[in-house]
Symmetry: C2
Subunit: 332 residues, 2 copies
Amino acid sequence: MSRIRRDPTADRWVIVAPERADRPMLYGPPGAATAACPFCPGNEHLTPPEVLAWGRPSPAPDTPGWRGRVVPNRYPALGPEAPVGADPVGPGLFLERPGHGGHEVVIETPEHRWRPEAIDAGALTDTLAVCAERMKVWSARPGIRYVLLFKNHGEAAGATIPHPHFQLLALPLVPRTVREEAAAAARHRRREGTCLLCRLLEAERADGARWILETGALVAMAPYASRVPYEVWLLPRSHESRFEDSPVLGETAEALGGLLAALARVLGDVAWNLVVHTAPPEGDAEASSYHWHVELLPRTVRFAGFEWGSGLAMNPVAPEAAARALRDRLRS
Amino acid sequence: MSRIRRDPTADRWVIVAPERADRPMLYGPPGAATAACPFCPGNEHLTPPEVLAWGRPSPAPDTPGWRGRVVPNRYPALGPEAPVGADPVGPGLFLERPGHGGHEVVIETPEHRWRPEAIDAGALTDTLAVCAERMKVWSARPGIRYVLLFKNHGEAAGATIPHPHFQLLALPLVPRTVREEAAAAARHRRREGTCLLCRLLEAERADGARWILETGALVAMAPYASRVPYEVWLLPRSHESRFEDSPVLGETAEALGGLLAALARVLGDVAWNLVVHTAPPEGDAEASSYHWHVELLPRTVRFAGFEWGSGLAMNPVAPEAAARALRDRLRS
């Protein structure tokens, strides 16, 4: 069972999950056989029994014919077997809590290989809708304080299985990044009476230099303090706190597909992480002032000693240059 | 010139340094020619004019014969040309400050290739002593609020040049990681009257499971909440705030050599980052309660969407198992 430990020298929690050391690395030379891929049709027995599937004509679970599948992660970072809601305990400086939570995989497509030029917005819409449903299911469970949805694409982004999939991690705590964003949003609202990200969108539209895309309901921009080259944020134009409650997931899928295709035109077969930032489940003031957004983080540079030592990021590409390049390649 | 930008949605600063995009990547197949290596003897003209060198019989700067050299980074993240001490400015939500500071490279040895089995503790002592001197020089300069010393080894650790070198970055702000550690240390001292890390060392010695090495003046341990597999902290047994003022740099070099050799025996030719955590230059209460330490972070796993989205780390190797493996291989 995994444990969540607090670093006594800093406000930092770490999930220690030895089970995950056994994960196989399934990246190989391009075109390598996918016989061993647990996410390919026909290999359903290689995953734990499925939570749900969509698009399968037959009612038999764990059989081929699906368009998408949700399965428990076989090497979970957190598990439901740990005591619910246990407080951190420990002798003296050593505080840890059981790794209570959930870790699911949302397999997006039967196709093993992801090709940016062939993104199917309809399929991605279905995937996002299923992800949103699973987020709501997990949020309602006892002991869960946050549900993190993310996707790793490519070895350099930490992916171990190339077959397209999202991951959902249900956590017994609100992670630091979200806590800090929620606190900044609540602070801004108390002071200015407005949503920080709504205000930021106005300022970014007026400036224009980091603006990438605008659709009916969504905006994409290179954030002012982009941590990595070609970082992109995609967010709703009007205020919405929770991704999982959003009425514009179809438009989100379409915009995301366009952005990923543009990214591939600019950077080639680049690795990236995608992270959904949504408000914490609890209905407090901080949650309602939170504005959900998707962060897309290409991995062209590596974190080094500077970043470890400082907590600062070092970005060798100006966000304005990144936005210009992505804008130029969105329609070509 | 680089800029340091504040993310308006979080307490996060980013150095945007487009000059660094031009850095050449000098890793190649093992045994590749080093003709292009700017840190090899004979190639002194490939670096900016040296700040100092040691071990060279001739008085002529930028010529071979040295045992070590300090040069300005040719692709600096921060530079002295920016206005000193300028406050962050910007319209509305957009705050940035000029990238004022310094970025130096300390070339440790004329040898291009680093071999863990041939670490020379004497040479490393000289290097650390020079690094400490440069830290003091930069700390005394106007507008500098922190000096970060670090080393990247291997491509996976973000190094672009294999030739062994340290980097020193003089910053116009105290980086977040150090601020947080200093605050935790000051809080502990106010509450308990002792140094947090001195207290932690007592607890770790009593526990023993994460203890790796003990010398006359130093201790190495796997931190309780290790963020990555085989993370190691090396620190003085008695309270010292500043690495650059330490009387035990020779012993530090020797212990570090032993640890790096043990790490190579356990993990093979692994990439790692080494970061020196020292108290901020300013002489406040937080600085004196700070206990310097060296953090050694092997890079066997990649940061992925989970880490980006949460600010938590996920470590698949228990620190106790890592400490045991390193202890076992220290003397063999």
